[in-house]
């Protein structure tokens, strides 16, 4: 049973990792926790659903559609709630506060327009489980895990090997110096949001396929937040590893104790972890973030 629970944990971890990677990009570059990522996931999921209903697209196209609409949604959010704050040199904490509002705004937009009823994607991947002997593994979760690793490598390639990726890293290091070096900071920030939105929309579609499409889907982002923070700053590997570890931890706590005790132990473990290793799992000690 241990092996099965480990696989269950990796399944859950894959979901969290995919959420955390988009979240972590903004966290690393702009140094704040972007709660509107949940809203981006939500909108990506719903637009992909409507695209599917109208065009009967394949899985790949539906994912693509979700990703792109997620990216656009993230940029819209940036224009609406972040740019005005940046123009006024607002302290970082206001970005955080406004991002919470951004997430809520998407949820209420869906409730007011599409409505509160549940929708589902069809079973894209056929039978949902792979069974090898006594062990069972969800195909969908395995896919999410693989996709989060692929996007991790894809993102690292993008950031280290392309010109715009380098610009993003420059802004992550120091916004002012980057602009002195000729980087159009505003454009780069919008680009960062777009990329994180692509990942968010992609994740949203997967969440919708796996868990039903409903307006409160965005609230799952708190797990992505936890994963990013414990994953640490300074590298994108952190959020992914953080997500996987969080999934495994939660699954083992549920398996060997009980699901209702999980938040109790999670708090204690989190506290000890942050006291002992404040740079997170894969991070470097940097100046304080929100």
């Amino acid at each position: 049973m241990f092996l099965q629970q480990l696989l269950n944990g990796l399944s859950l971890g894959g979901v969290y990792a995919l959420m955390a990677i988009g979240f972590g990009l903004i966290y690393n570059v702009l140094k704040f926790s972007n709660f509107s990522h949940g809203g981006v996931m939500l909108i990506g999921c719903y637009t992909a659903y409507f695209a599917f209903k109208i065009f009967h697209s394949s899985l790949f196209l539906t994912l693509l559609f979700g990703a792109i609409s997620g990216g656009l949604c993230a940029v819209i959010f940036e224009k609406l709630a972040i740019v005005p704050l940046r123009k006024r040199n607002a302290p970082k904490i206001y970005f955080f506060v406004n991002s919470i509002n951004g997430g809520l705004l998407s949820e209420y937009l869906i409730v007011a327009t599409v409505g509160v009823f549940f929708h589902t994607f069809p079973d894209f991947l056929g039978t949902t489980n792979i069974n090898i002997g006594q062990i069972s593994f969800s195909k969908l979760n395995l896919t999410m895990l693989i996709i989060s690793l692929i996007t991790l490598f894809g993102l690292m390639w993008y950031l280290y090997k392309t010109k715009s990726g380098r610009a993003i890293r420059a802004v992550a290091c120091d916004i002012n110096t980057a602009s002195l070096m000729g980087v159009d900071v505003n454009q780069v920030i919008s680009l960062t949001f777009f990329v994180s939105g692509l990942l968010g929309g992609l994740c949203g579609v997967f969440l919708g396929i796996n868990y039903t499409i409903y307006p409160q889907l965005g609230k799952l982002i708190v797990k992505g937040w936890m994963a990013s923070v414990i994953g640490g700053l300074g590298s994108l590997l952190g959020p992914v590893v953080g997500g996987i570890l969080l999934g495994v931890l939660e699954t083992f706590l549920t398996a060997y104790i009980s699901s209702s005790f999980t938040p109790i132990l999670e708090f204690i473990i989190l506290l000890m972890f942050l006291l002992i290793r404040p740079q997170g799992i894969a991070g470097v000690i940097v100046e304080e973030k929100v």
Binding site: Q4, L12, F117, T212
Partner: protein
């Protein structure tokens, strides 16, 4: 400072807007409706409201009650008790409704009980928790529940599983953070144990959880004869899918959140489930209602639509019986209700304001369709 002045002016405007108050115009009966229309249980609230609207339109088309037309005023609570208290106060003090139709959730129902007692405008709803209709000193005089309370529902499910399906070894998986789920699970388990059955394993989950594989794995290893899954419809669907996915094929016993849209959400995983439902679906009374509902709202009715429809009709009957638009007289008339609705025969026990010993209808899911088995009541013993 200029901006500040602007803001202060804006706020003054708001306050002015606010001090407008409404009331009934001649020829109108105002009925309040308190529901969650935008948060986690909004699907219930909107369906409930739709059912009420259907009833209101039918009644008005027949000429209304006491020569007046009904106007429904709906306030959204987001499932939050404080918003519900505000809404109730607003309906009673500003809008001056004669009665209120309440939500199918108890976390709103229970706070409404104490305030309804103080303000004396009756509330008819489907808040299954016993504490919404009775307290240690007796009954909440202005609250009425139009379905069996949760312990009765759980006992019906348990009794059917033990006596009719002849099952005795159960696994239970329920939402520990949800009062509705907890209040079904606990009586179910006590009933099973009291009647010679065994609860092999109890698993829990919390709100917001979407992955239940860890719990499902443990349930599979415990090898039960049936699994009791009393949650909200979305959680039930996911659990069914994940249980079946991992290889647990034994019958699932459900609660009354296994009707529409569960099959839509769970697909083939929902098969081999037995659950108590508020209404039979193969009788003309329901079929007629379903056709009207689908024609008006272009979707299948949930159980809450039936609840709203019946509640409004019960209220209309009571107003007619009372003969006047006085909330206390209406409350007295509601107590005398003897009504045959879509959900069956509803008659309140005056000591509890609940339809004690009202049977539920056992449904089965087979070939991705609902099949009516029949009315069932846990035998008294």
């Amino acid at each position: 400072m200029n901006k500040l002045k602007m803001i202060v002016i804006l706020m003054a405007m708001f306050f002015l807007l606010f001090s407008y108050s409404w009331g009934a115009s001649e020829g109108e009966i105002l009925v309040g409706n308190i529901q969650d229309m935008s948060a986690g249980t909004a699907i219930w609230g909107q369906n409930d409201t739709n059912g009420i609207l259907l009833a209101v339109e039918e009644i008005n088309a027949r000429g209304g009650i006491l020569g007046k037309k009904i106007r429904l005023i709906t306030y959204d609570t987001k499932g939050d008790p404080t918003e519900a208290i505000n809404a109730y106060n607003r309906l009673v003090d500003l809008d001056k409704v004669v009665a209120v139709l309440g939500p199918p959730t108890s976390n709103v129902g229970i706070p409404l009980a104490s305030i309804a007692e103080r303000k004396k405008v009756p509330v008819i709803g489907d808040f299954m928790d016993e504490r919404a209709t009775t307290h240690s000193g007796g009954v909440w005089n202005f609250m009425f529940l139009t379905e069996p309370c949760c312990s009765e529902q759980a006992e019906i499910a348990a009794s059917y599983a033990i006596k009719e399906l002849k099952l005795s070894k159960f696994a239970v998986i329920y939402n520990k953070a949800n009062s509705y789920s907890v209040k079904m699970a606990i009586p179910f388990m006590s009933y099973v144990i009291k009647h010679g059955g065994e609860v092999l394993i109890t698993e829990t989950y919390l709100f917001g959880d979407t992955e239940f594989r860890a719990q499902c794995t443990k349930i599979k290893n415990a090898n039960p004869e049936a699994v009791f899954v009393p949650g909200y419809v979305k959680d039930n669907a996911l659990i069914a899918k994940q249980l079946r996915g991992i290889g647990v094929d034994v019958p699932i016993i459900g609660n009354n959140s296994w009707y529409v849209p569960l099959i839509e959400l769970a697909g083939a995983a929902a098969n081999n489930t037995y659950f108590p439902n508020n209404m039979a679906i193969d009788i003309p009374r329901f079929q007629d209602f379903m056709k009207l509902y689908e024609k008006r709202f272009d979707m299948e009715p949930l159980i809450h639509a039936c609840m709203g429809y019946d509640n409004m009709n019960i209220l209309a009957d009571a107003i007619k019986k009372a003969g006047k638009l006085d909330p206390i007289a209406i409350k007295d008339a509601i107590e005398q209700t003897d009504y045959l609705g879509v959900m069956g025969k509803i008659k309140f026990n005056p000591q509890t304001h609940r339809p004690d010993r009202m049977p539920l209808v056992m449904l089965k899911i087979e070939n991705e369709e609902y099949v009516t088995i029949g009315e069932y009541l846990a035998p008294l013993d």
